[in-house]
Amino acid sequence: MNLAQVEKSTWVYVAISFLLFVVPFIATGRSVQFLIIQIFVFGIFAMSYDLLLGYTGIISFGHVMFFGVGAYSTAVLFDRFDPTMLTFALAIIISGVIAGIVSLIVGVLTLRLKSHFYAMLTLALAGLFLVGAEKWRKLTGGSDGFTFGLPDILRDSFALYIVSALSLVLIFFGLRRMTKSPFGKVLVAIRENESRTESLGYQVLHYKVIVSVVSGIVASYSGVLYILSLRFVDTSVFATDLTIDVLLMTIIGGVGTLIGPIIGASLIEFAHHWLSDLSDVHWIFERWIILYGTIFILIVVFFPKGIVGTLVDRFYKWRARRT
């Protein structure tokens, strides 16, 4: 590859990626690292969601099912087998395979449906996963959940940080390449006008299924990381709340941009963390959730296309006006 051809933005992202690996030497506290790991985990989860929402125009209310599949595969494996790195590798593979199969079936079953109906069907399926986890208590421990051991390396916060950061960076660049590939361009075309894409000779359903499988696998991987960082699993990994969270992160950051969901995830995690800490400052902030909700409203008002989307828009307008 000719280096001169690489887009400018790529260099910026590479630089930022390097910075990520410097952070844990500065922020050595485990609780800070935990917070940042959560941002990475949800950044990955949100990127996988954006692949559907932002690039292909599919609203899913059940994305959490893949996350949960990843989480439970990992937790159960670590619970049943010796917590070694081999188990970890196995967990990644198995969760990926299960998520892949589930998303393939779900995709084939649901992707023919239009907008709302698709969204509601995925909500239903995710709901069934939740009920399944609740009912299959021998395996999942139900809503009480269970804790499990980890290989010694992964118990170390620093190591987990590196693993998550590396995952985020690799997945980011991988997905970025995918969205900029001819394949990715077709996804956007599908978002814009499905029937026209079809009459140009693209098989829309194939694309949708492929993208939902990719998205499902990435989401399940974020579930794996999440559960490693939590070392405890219960049915809440299938809760609709998580889908809503990831939806918010994606939208706040800006749909149809990959960096957006990561920024959205950071913003939500940090806002959540700081605002809830505010409650100690003054009793007024005991109801910090009001502020939290207000942030969403303000974001829609001031950043109608999400933070990244709107900034990019402004940038283009500004450039257009200058020329």
């Binding site: 485990r30 959560q38 009480d144 269970f146 804790t147 219960d234 809440s236 809830s276 005991e286």
Partner: protein, 379 residues
Amino acid sequence: GETEESGAEGGETIKIGVLASLTGALEAYGQQTKKGFELGLEYGTDGTMEVAGKKIEVVYEDTETDPKVARQKALTLLEDEGVDFLVGSSSSGDTLAVTPLAEEYEKVMVVEPAAADGITGAEYNDYVFRTSRNSSQDAVSAAAAIADEGVKIATLAPDYAFGRDGVSAFKTAAEDLGAEIIHEEYADQTATDFTANIQKILDADPDYLYVVWAGANTPWNQIVDMQVQEQGIKITTGVADRATLPMMAPLVGMEGFTLYYHTLPDNEVNDWLIEKHQEKHGEAPDLFTPGGMSAALAVIEALKQTEGSTDSAELIETMEGMEFATPKGTMTFRPEDHQALQEMYAVTLVESDEHDYPVPELKKVLTPEETAPPIMNGK
């Protein structure tokens, strides 16, 4: 976190981190725990906030009833605040997300008021002590309140871990006492209509209906509407916090049990609690207030015995088998699984002159021995 400092100038401090649901669905429980804990410290240290010459500092953190947040906050407490004890929390999930950290950081954690059996059962670790009762204790108390030779009982419970565990523990205990469980009914907790479930119970025609319920969407109205009692079936259940009492108005006369109602225990600590709570918060203590207090008292008692040492090994050794006075009488941490054995109360729901809701009236104090749950951590 929110810090309350007091006590001696200089000297060492002992830091306690309390995790509770201070917002969200379990907010009410979290607040009770917090108030109880504050009062517990005051009582235990005679208002000096000092034990064995060291001052006590408490940091409260809100888990928002979210395991992830719970873990995040616990890390903050352990790492940034450097607490010597953890206390909490309001939900079992939050608690289980934190107990491995207690082990990892080798800090004692006093669980209060999470009730899942697993905490001192399958998920047990040496650093965990529980002052709250577990689900099995509830079940055993319920059985003790009604079960007898030849009594036929049906159960109604929500269809998730809490309900299922509660019923299975109850079943064992009740059958030990000679009763027969003739029907188990599980309902979707979020459903609005329980009449089909109640219909099946009516069909089974038991002597008693034992209801395990938690959460807001209650079946009481419908049990009354379906005229269950009129058809000769007696209802029994655990009496929960005050906010739920008005809902039980139609069940006056019911025999059940409770883990606490402020008029029930007759001891000094409880008297002090009632008085102080009234003074400070303008009302009587509620269901989980004495629990919060007990947790504080357990910590203080342990520190007294170790003379202020926060060495975990020493603390664990001290606390295993430790007896301490609480608003619910003397509790004992069972050495095998660190579950506090405690009084429970068999009650009858009666109308009250003071309140426009019914209140539990003491029928019998169920002793710690009577309500001891099975040991479930494989020891």
